[in-house]
Amino acid sequence: MINNTFLRISIAAIFLSAGLIAYQISLLQVLSITQWYHFAFLIISIALLGWGVAGTFLSLFKEFFMKNFDVCLQLLCILCAVFMMLNNFLIRIPGFFFDTCSLLLTDKIDFLHITITIIMLMYPFVPGAMVLGILFTKYSAIIGKIYCANLTGSGIGSILILFLTWFLFPMKILIVIAFFPLLSAIFLAKRNYFAIFSSIFIIIFNSVILLTQSGFPYISEYKDIKRVLSLPDAKIIKSISSPYGLIQVLSSKSFRITPCLSLKFTGEIPPEDQVFVNADRVGSLMDFHSSVVMDIYKNTTGSLPYTIRTPKNVLILNASTGTGVAQALAWNRNSIGAVELNPILCSFLRKRLDKLNDKVSIHIEGSRLFLEQSDKAYDLIILPTINYLGENTGLNALDTQYIMTIEGFNTIWEKLSDNGIIFVSCWQDYPPRYSYKILSSMIEMLRNKGIVDVYNHICAVQSWGDISFMISKVKFQQSEINKINNFCNNLLFDPLIVPGKGVIHCQDHNQNSDFCNGFTKIINNDKNFYNEYRFNILPSTDDKPYFSQFMKITKILQILKLYRKGDITFMELGYLVLLITVLILFAVSLLMILLPLFTLGPMNQKKLWTLAYFGGIGAGYMFVEVVLIQNFIFYLNSPIYSVSLVVTSMLFFSGLGSFMEDKINFDKKGITTIFAMIVCFLILFTAFLSPFLHFSSGFSFLLKVIVTITIAGIPSYFMGVPFPVGIKYLLVKSEKLIPWGWAINSFFSVLTPLVALIISIEFGFSFVIMAGVFAYLVTFLAWLKSF
């Protein structure tokens, strides 16, 4: 009988766990569409908060749940599904959830709205997590096996979601996921026909919703696509769901956009269809065969490198919809490489090139990795335009951009031919941030290369809207400097940095903000300038790859004050929202950890042990997960594959570790070895992970998947052991503390991803690993100190 019960419970746990993790990843995708990635990222912590709250409820009402065990499990599963379905409606209501951009329009931070949003996103996780918590408590004697089922289900859920995103639109996926807890309820129902029929009835109701409701959520009024859709004749003509995001093509006869165009250009600018990924504009679908379009591209700042030299091999990084390709084609280049990670954008590009495909080779790869593997030398390497039109001001502060780091520029430099050029354009912002940071990154790379006469290798021109930088591997010749000046005069641009002369104050055609002072100080490596400047404009590195993060944490209040006075036009809302959320979640977590003490009694040595042991595990595990995900985003070229593979591997191997712990029942020496292994692995990561991933970056994709599973999996096997060990220990010493320990573990997991992000922004990823080591050492010390 115990086998049948165990099987039934295990299947239910797998369904429920798969549903909960799939729901979490789907919400991440939906929130990336309705808002931005920095907000979507919070869902990881919000989901875990649901687990923590569930643990607190269990601590408070443990006896009630144990007494009504079967009914509680069934009802909670059904409740979880109903909450998921209810949230599906709430996400469609305009203004129901907090919107990051509302901070732009108000003088006050609406803590209440943020808190309500967190609660409304969290509550479907609570009943689901309670079911698992009840199972952990009830079957604590076989905790390893139940924990294994839980983690296996989570692994299955995260893989499943990868497949579903190819076939269903995001909101439809959210509806489908609600079936999982219902299936779980049926498995837990035994002979409770009421629960079975209720589940079946809700399954039918949910199926009707699936067939009738739209697959698209309500999108923030501040997202690009909403603004373009406000044009009178704008309409979406294509929508594609994929793990690379929701890709939409929008047509409008009124929407004309072009890179910084010379004011000498008097021709017609045709409207072009626009492409959006997760409701953010990524580019135009220009007609590569139109002479009008080619003429436009000849009259932009992007023509500068083609005017002074005749590059044969041109490489466009992060090619997107093909602006750089159009530029190269306008100058009749025949050997153009375009690197783009998103296969759907690549298919758009390939289709439109048609007969020009023999001139352009398209590589579906991440730019940095492509360069590291390429054995070709390029005469011109073009980076994507930075912050075009100021569209993403401060909202992508938490995005990592490995192509814009010092190491990234070093890789680009290595792939230049002897006469090669790096070209990058940047939208002018005030106060200058992007332009300063891109310059400081390139200058630092040149210095690292031992180039002392940087003024001979760099050039910059400004139009009415952008600044374009050009870095040459060899010194610019006088004839080329003359061509730069002629280019500026002919197209009404102004030189800002003239090779050989340095930074000049020329505003013959465009009287913009004065960048000269800052440029001079950056090129002269004035350390005081970096320290005193209100914003962080230090070069980004692979350890701190947040190119678009400019906010200095020490100057947040000063920046907020300036913003409210109207002295600056934008601030890094992404980072600000992260900090606000950490504050709220910290307060909620603390409250929820302390709340059960009303029934458990005041703090004593046993409770301190539980806090240190389970807190350490929760924090340590998440620190490692964040670091691994980040490293493998670079390695696998894709955040989606990285998150799925790392999370699945970690969960599966942790589950295996828990399962083995249940079989082996490690003694004190065994446990000490386990902790020693964990700490050893983390120290090895600090020293060798990044170099090894760079070394093996040329491996085939299949081999890389195996490397990922191995690196994420092996330490996770050991990291899966301490949790059941702790639960079993409490089972012997103080059973009533089990739900509290589980809740503590969850609350520390809530805060850790956000804290890890802040640590990585301020100090770098290497410090995040050290934080993981510290957390596991705390757990180990707690273990050594018996009570």
């Binding site: 951009c101 732009l104 501040y222 690009d224 603004r227 373009v228 406000s230 044009l231 009178p232 004749d233 409008s252 006869k253 009124s254 004309r256 956009i257 072009t258 910084c260 165009l261 004011l263 000498k264 250009f265 008097t266 021709g267 017609e268 600018i269 409207p271 039109l389 100021g390 569209e391 001001t393 002018q428 005030y430 009415w464 809207g465 009404l492 013959d508 055609h509 465009n510 009287q511 913009n512 903000s513 036009t569 934008f570």
Partner: protein, 85 residues
Amino acid sequence: MKIGDGYYGWEEKAPFDRIIVTAAAGHIPPPLLKQLKDGGIMIIPVGSFLFFQYLILVKKNNSKIITEKLIPVRFVPLTGSGNND
């Protein structure tokens, strides 16, 4: 008065001494530059539709065009029927 897409200005009545554009564009529209009289001045907000644009002062002197960024502003998008009539 003419009802139409401001992007194209009013070619029949051009050139103009002053052009004031009260909606944001992603670039300075070439038709408006063409319709600006020699010695004329245009002001136009240019930049992103949502977050902010810069109010740009455009001067045309002896066919030479000079731009000057004035202040950051927020305007609604420059749009119309999309037809040049």
